[in-house]
């Protein structure tokens, strides 16, 4: 019974998270979400819905106006250094140091994440796993495509071996093949027991790999469904409905969203 409780403890948790910017814009309104080990939570939403704000609060880049963000039970904003030991991050457009090779970049960021026990062979294994070709290992990043940089980013996250992973629109701008490879990798990480919170516009991938999908509208989590609940729902239609409601910014939410809520 106790083991089950430990297993169920969320690795990422937003508790009544609210963020009002200095200009008065409410980016998050009382957000509640949890991501447990072995789960992928996909946040869907338009621009300005609050997806990136949520991730920024988890990474302590901004402070919440009220509420808390916990990583592995540690408050990300009151003890950020301790909390960040438990999380890896891959951004929308992974940017590394252009004068460094892939190997040098991976080495730096992995050691920065507190992992100094790795050897070159470990880095190579991780880079092979993410699908980077061997001849690119010792090439400078300035010659890399976005897909190759994203692969390095995910390799860094794998090597950091943190229990939780934050992905900020990680497949944005990737070609279909690279996107598919990326999805496979994220699925593998979930299977290894990582708790993954992913913000994305990509509804197909969200449905394909997520255990939970949440739709954010103007900082409010207006919909939250498990993968099983989404099986009978046309997520594309749902999303378009949602986007239409969001774009109009007036009137009642669509019937479909109401149903989901």
């Amino acid at each position: 019974m106790q083991n089950e409780t430990i297993k169920q403890a969320p690795l990422l948790e937003a508790r009544n998270l609210t963020k009002v910017y200095e200009d008065g814009v409410k980016a998050l309104d009382n957000l509640q979400l949890t991501v447990h080990p072995g789960e992928i939570f996909a946040m869907l939403g338009g621009n300005g819905a609050g997806k990136t704000t949520t991730i920024n609060i988890f990474l302590d880049f901004i402070q919440p106006t009220s509420g808390n963000a916990f990583i592995n039970g540690i408050d990300a904003n009151s003890d950020p250094l301790e909390a960040k030991k438990n999380v890896a991050f891959v951004s929308e457009n992974v940017q590394l140091y252009p004068n460094f090779t892939a190997m040098q970049n991976v080495d730096f960021f992995v050691r920065l994440g507190g992992k100094s026990q790795y050897k070159r062979s470990d880095y190579e294994d991780a880079l092979v796993r993410v699908g980077l070709q061997r001849e690119a290992f010792d090439k400078k990043l300035k010659d890399f495509s976005k897909g190759m940089r994203q692969k390095c980013g995910i390799a860094i996250a794998i090597l950091k071996d943190a229990p939780a992973i934050l992905l900020d629109e990680p497949t944005s701008g990737l070609d279909p093949k690279a996107g598919k490879e990326f999805t496979r990798l994220v699925g593998d990480l979930r299977d290894e027991g990582k708790a993954i919170l992913m913000s994305t516009h990509d509804i197909f991938r969200a449905k394909e790999i997520s255990d939970h999908v949440g739709i954010l509208n103007a900082g409010v989590l207006v919909a939250r469904k498990t993968n099983a609940e989404l099986k009978g729902v046309n997520l594309e239609e749902l999303y378009v409905e949602y986007m239409a409601g969001y774009m109009e910014e007036v009137g009642e939410p669509s019937a479909l969203i109401n149903n989901l809520s």
Partner: protein, 488 residues
Amino acid sequence: MLSILIQKELKNILLSPKFFATFLVCSILILISIFIGINEYNNSVLQYQTNQQIAQQDIEQATGWMQVRNLLHREPTPMQIFVSGLHFDVGRVSGISSFDDVKLVRSPYSDETLFAIFRFIDFAFIVQVVLSLFAILFTYDAINGERENGTLKLAFSNPVSRVQYLFSKFAGTWLGLIIPLLIPIMIGLLLVIVFGVPVSESDWIRIIGLIGLSILYVTFFIGIGLFISSVTRKSSLSFLLLLVIWISGVLILPRMGVMAAGQIVDIESVAQIEAKQEAFERERWESYSASLSEIWGEREQEMEGMTEEERRAYRDEKEWEWLEVDDAARKQVQSDIIENNRTLLEESQNRKKVQEQLAFNLARISPVSSFRLAAMNLAGTDIDMKSRYEESMRQYKDEFTKFTERKQAESGNSGGFRIEVDSNEGVKLDFGRNDQTLDTSDMPRYSAPVVQAGTSFGNSILDFGLLIVFIIATFGGSFFAFLRYDMR
């Protein structure tokens, strides 16, 4: 964690094209500057020695000690290789005679005007202008550039403290700039040794001080670069701001300080002082004439009613007394005039000192002035170099004048010469000393003023202190700004 960050910063800088450019430019400039400086110093020494020999020969060939016109030359210093300061602008030679005041004339640039157009670029100038520019180039995007690139977010998704991160930025950049400074200067110093420049122990201490000062100066520019990069979001804006700060600090503020001091402390021109002296002189002589007329009127009154015979007898009796009175009055006038001239000159010099001091203090609002002034003080090529030399030459002049007077008295020779014109033998010059040269073996020798290294450091301590204050202020500001920096 800190060592990982510093290693990354250093590696990132060492692999960047800007490090290569900095190293190349600094190496070329510093080595060429020292090489030219050594040549210039050797030429100056050669010229100095030749001039000394010519002056010595002139003395020996003089007709007598009263006719000797000694010439003193400013001695070159090895420190001019690194900080030329006012070396090329201050005169190199002054005549020493009882008739003329000491005044250094014929500066290197007044003799060779071509070189004044393309002035000598010394080590201090390279640090002041070139390295400060490179320091800006290294730091303008240190923080906001990483934000723009996205690497700041990735780095701070790890357990990294902001203080450690900023410190690593400073340490990495600092090492990246100190390498292009130290390696060429070390090679340059090796050149100085190889070319046999006589660098004294005191000079080595000054050189070490100069390198330390340069490091402090570069550190300030790293600090200001980090500060501006921490308070701006875009690297293009920080570069623009830093360029404005650099232009203001290096080119405008020091000059504005001097201009403001000129406006605040008014100094009379030489013509104005001379006009004042003449006016006082005229007024005193007129007053003297008036009082003399009055005295003579009183004397006439004393003789009123006397016969011509009695008058003559009275005048003969009083003649010496009256002459003494008149002479005393005249001497008083002369003494007043001399005293007034001296006071006016002293006042002018004092005001000039006040103006100089104010100009320096106002210019010190820019750390560039502190660096420049401290470097010149350390090298001994500062603004006091001229007065230091002229003062020591004046002291020598007194000693030399006494010596020549004594020698003249001993020889009993007027120092003149006789010209004999004979229809058979032609013109014959007789110097009255059997064509022998003057014996100068016991003539007092001039020694250039010596400034101890300790004194030079003492004179620079304010500027060293100011640079440290500027560094603390910029780093304090950087840390404060970065602790509040929005990473997104």
